[in-house]
Each structure stands twice: as structure tokens, then as C-alpha cells.
């Protein structure tokens, strides 16, 4: 038993059967491929992160 997905640039991700079996069905990966423009800092995002940390 193994599971595979293919995203951008045809990169395939496969979860090895040993891990899936050992986890007794509890292992799952959420996978997202994206194209981005990375910035050093965004004040609004930082505020959001700080707020999450205060919960």
C-alpha cells in the first residue's frame, strides 16, 4: 500500500508503504504546490501570527 500525487513540474510525492502501514491509517500529508513571490516581511501577516500565538 502506498499513495502518490503529482503536482507542478510533474514532481510526484509518494508515501512509502512502511510508514502508511506503521501509522495504521493515521498518516496523511496535506500537499500544496504554488508559485510565489517571497517578501522579507509583511506587517499584517506578522500581526496575524502574533495574535495566533496569544490564543
Amino acid at each position: 500500500m502506498e499513495d502518490t500525487c503529482a503536482g507542478s513540474k510533474n514532481v510526484r510525492i509518494t508515501v512509502h508503504k512502511d510508514l502508511l502501514e506503521a501509522s495504521k491509517g493515521l498518516l496523511a500529508l496535506g500537499v500544496i504546490f504554488s508559485r510565489v513571490k517571497v517578501s522579507k516581511f509583511d506587517q499584517n501577516l506578522w500581526n496575524l501570527l502574533q495574535k495566533a500565538g496569544e490564543k
Binding site: 507542478s8 510526484r12 508515501v15 498518516l27 496535506g30 504546490f33 501570527l49
Partner: protein, 154 residues
């Protein structure tokens, strides 16, 4: 090697929050990871696809496998779940290697939310990553999957 070096990155992040040590500010993609990790209580990793080669496997670390983590400590990977490309391990739910770190020159990103308690809420968490990357990193051209159910999301 310290046992505390092997806790999940989500646990390490929460520990910082709870001990009032403050959060790291890195860049808008890593900050997004950290936000979703705190909200979901799951480890989240983002990787620069231009630094990876070939297909990716999530498997058990082999004896003698190790890499230098983002904290500049050596992480011994034997029996840890690790993400590997054709050049070997580059990421894990514990700590990522320096090889595929996101920086301001990164354009193509792979983000992984690691769940060890089933796929519950993964779809919502992926949508949150998508929304934040759109807003704070001009994100586009998304493809999302949950690797377990062979489920491709729109």
C-alpha cells in the same frame, strides 16, 4: 544529540509561544507556515522546488542518514519520517535541512502539512495556506492534494 532536538517542529513552535520566547520572523512563506502550524497544531514545512531533484518520497530515515537542520544542529534521521528527493533527505516533521529553505529568490514552493492523526481538517488547512500565500506572497498556480486518499482538491 539531545532528545529535545527530535520533537516535532509544531511542538517546538508551541513551546516557544507558551514560554513567551517569541516567534521567529523569517519571510512571508515561512511566517505563513508558522501561522498554520500554530492554528492546526501540526508540523508544516515549505521547500524550494528549485533545490530539489526528481520525485519525492516520504519514508523512514535510514541508518547513518543525517542532515544539518535549520537550527544548524545535525539531525540524525534513522527511523524518523523524512521527505527525500533523489539526493536524499531534505525535510521532516521535526526539523528541515538547510538545502531547500525558502528565501526571497524562491519562486516555486512545495508546502507539506504533516498529519499523524488522520486527514481531518487537512483540506481546510490547505485552503488556509492557499489563502495566506495569495494574500501575502502573491501566490498563484496552486495544486493541492491530500496524500492518503488520492484526493486532488480544486
Amino acid at each position: 544529540m539531545r532528545l529535545s532536538d527530535y520533537k516535532g517542529s509544531n511542538e517546538a513552535l508551541l513551546k516557544r509561544v507558551l514560554s513567551s520566547k517569541g516567534l521567529y520572523q523569517i519571510n512571508t512563506v515561512v511566517d505563513t507556515n508558522n501561522y498554520v502550524s500554530i492554528e492546526s497544531l501540526r508540523s508544516v514545512g515549505s521547500y524550494d522546488l528549485s533545490q530539489l531533484a526528481g520525485d519525492i518520497t516520504f519514508r523512514k530515515g535510514l541508518p547513518n542518514e543525517k542532515y544539518t537542520g535549520t537550527t544548524n544542529r545535525s539531525l540524525f534521521l534513522k527511523n524518523l519520517p523524512v521527505l527525500c528527493d533523489e539526493n536524499g533527505p531534505f525535510g521532516s516533521p521535526t526539523s528541515d535541512s538547510n538545502r531547500a529553505l525558502i528565501n526571497e529568490t524562491t519562486t516555486d514552493v512545495l508546502t507539506v502539512i504533516y498529519s499523524f492523526d488522520g486527514p481531518s481538517f487537512l483540506e481546510e488547512q490547505l485552503l488556509k495556506v492557499k489563502d495566506l500565500l495569495k494574500t501575502y506572497a502573491a501566490g498563484e498556480t496552486f495544486s493541492m492534494f491530500i496524500v492518503k486518499d488520492k484526493l486532488k482538491l480544486d
